[in-house]
Structures are given as structure tokens and as C-alpha cells.
Assembly symmetry: C2
């Protein structure tokens, strides 16, 4: 499968918009996880209101952080209840993640440094 083209740091419009902050620890046995994660990314970028995503997995600590950005609460709800995503969520909770925290937050202000 060809990966969607994602800029190295997500570029988002002026706030307000929403961020879904998902921090997780995966179990050592995570068969099927990588394919599902690729498929979910492929799907997410096509959802109405999707603005971008940042991801990092730290191989020293096992901590993964995914922050996805959304236009509004309705677009988050649409993605949360997407049938294929619901299947993935259930497998994640039961099988792949030993722990996670999901936080939905309204982005109020930003600052940045563009690449030099």
C-alpha cells in the first residue's frame, strides 16, 4: 500500500479547531497493528473536517503520541463512529494497547517556526 503523503509537521489553519491527543503504550504482541494503523491513516485523511496529524513513537520508552486535528466536534464524532474505525478501536482496546489516554481539546492559539 502506498502511504498518503503527510508533511513532517502538520500544518493547520488558524484556530479555533480541535486536537485529539492519543497517547498509548502497545503490548509486545501487536500482530496486525501496523497494517491497521496504515489503513486508519488512509481513511482518516479522507474524512470531512480532517486537518492533519502528527505522530511519534519513541523506541526507547515505548510511548506513542498521535495528535490529529479536526475542524470541529462534528468531524471528530464522524470519525469516532466510522464503522471501520470502530472495529479498529475495539481491537486496539482489547488486543494492541496495554494503556492509552485520549484527550479531546480545543486549540485556542498557536505559534510556530517554519523550516529554515
Amino acid at each position: 500500500m502506498e502511504s498518503p503523503s503527510i508533511p513532517r509537521l502538520a500544518q493547520t489553519p488558524e484556530p479555533p479547531y480541535y486536537a485529539v491527543i492519543f497517547t498509548s503504550l502497545r503490548k509486545p504482541e501487536d500482530a496486525g497493528y501496523a497494517d491497521m494503523a496504515s489503513r486508519m491513516l488512509e481513511l482518516a485523511v479522507t474524512q470531512p473536517g480532517f486537518l492533519g496529524v502528527d505522530f511519534a513513537r519513541d523506541s526507547n520508552t515505548g510511548v506513542s503520541i498521535t495528535v490529529s486535528y479536526w475542524k470541529d466536534e462534528a468531524s471528530i464524532a464522524g470519525w469516532r463512529t466510522h464503522a471501520e474505525h470502530r472495529t479498529a478501536q475495539a481491537k486496539g482496546r482489547a488486543q494492541w494497547y496495554s494503556a492509552f489516554e485520549l484527550r479531546v481539546a480545543k486549540v485556542e492559539r498557536t505559534s510556530s517556526k517554519t523550516r529554515d
Copy 2:
């Protein structure tokens, strides 16, 4: 220096509270960065209103994500204007980071799976 003890995933109180989402790419030359980052973590955890922090640096992509959690806007402002932190911010902008995005967001709701 002994690192402060940080749980693997930050445990935060019931919302509302604030998240500062800092995504960054560092330059290949980052002399002094690691010491400064350790010092800033040591300082941050002592700040009024500090609730926790999650961090991941992905060695495959170079993307780092730090999400710190704060009681309110006042505690974020206190940390942002802390003298030693201001010095670190200036060095980061001028010297260590090729790009970053900082987003201040109000956490409205959460869900989680605790470790099993």
C-alpha cells in the same frame, strides 16, 4: 543529573485543563540540547499548575512531540515567562529547532484504558 520520576503516560485530573502541544524537528547539530531539555523538565514539574507531560521522539522521522498539561492559562503563562525557560526558548528557536508548532488547547473530555 537524576531525572525526575515521570509515569510512562501522564495521569491527569478530570477536565477541563490545558494542553500545550509542541511538535518539533531538530537540526542535526543540537549540542547542548539534551542537557537543556533535562533541566527544563526538572523545572517544569515544579511550576504551579503543572499537571504532567508526555513525550515521544521518533528516531525514524525525527519528529518530536511533547504534550504538557496545565491547570489553567495562568500556569501556562507563568511557565512561558519563567526567566530560565525564556533563555531556553530563545536558544531553541535560534539554534536547535529547524521547525516547530506550538498549540495551546483546552482539554474538554477524555477516555482511557489503564494498564493491564
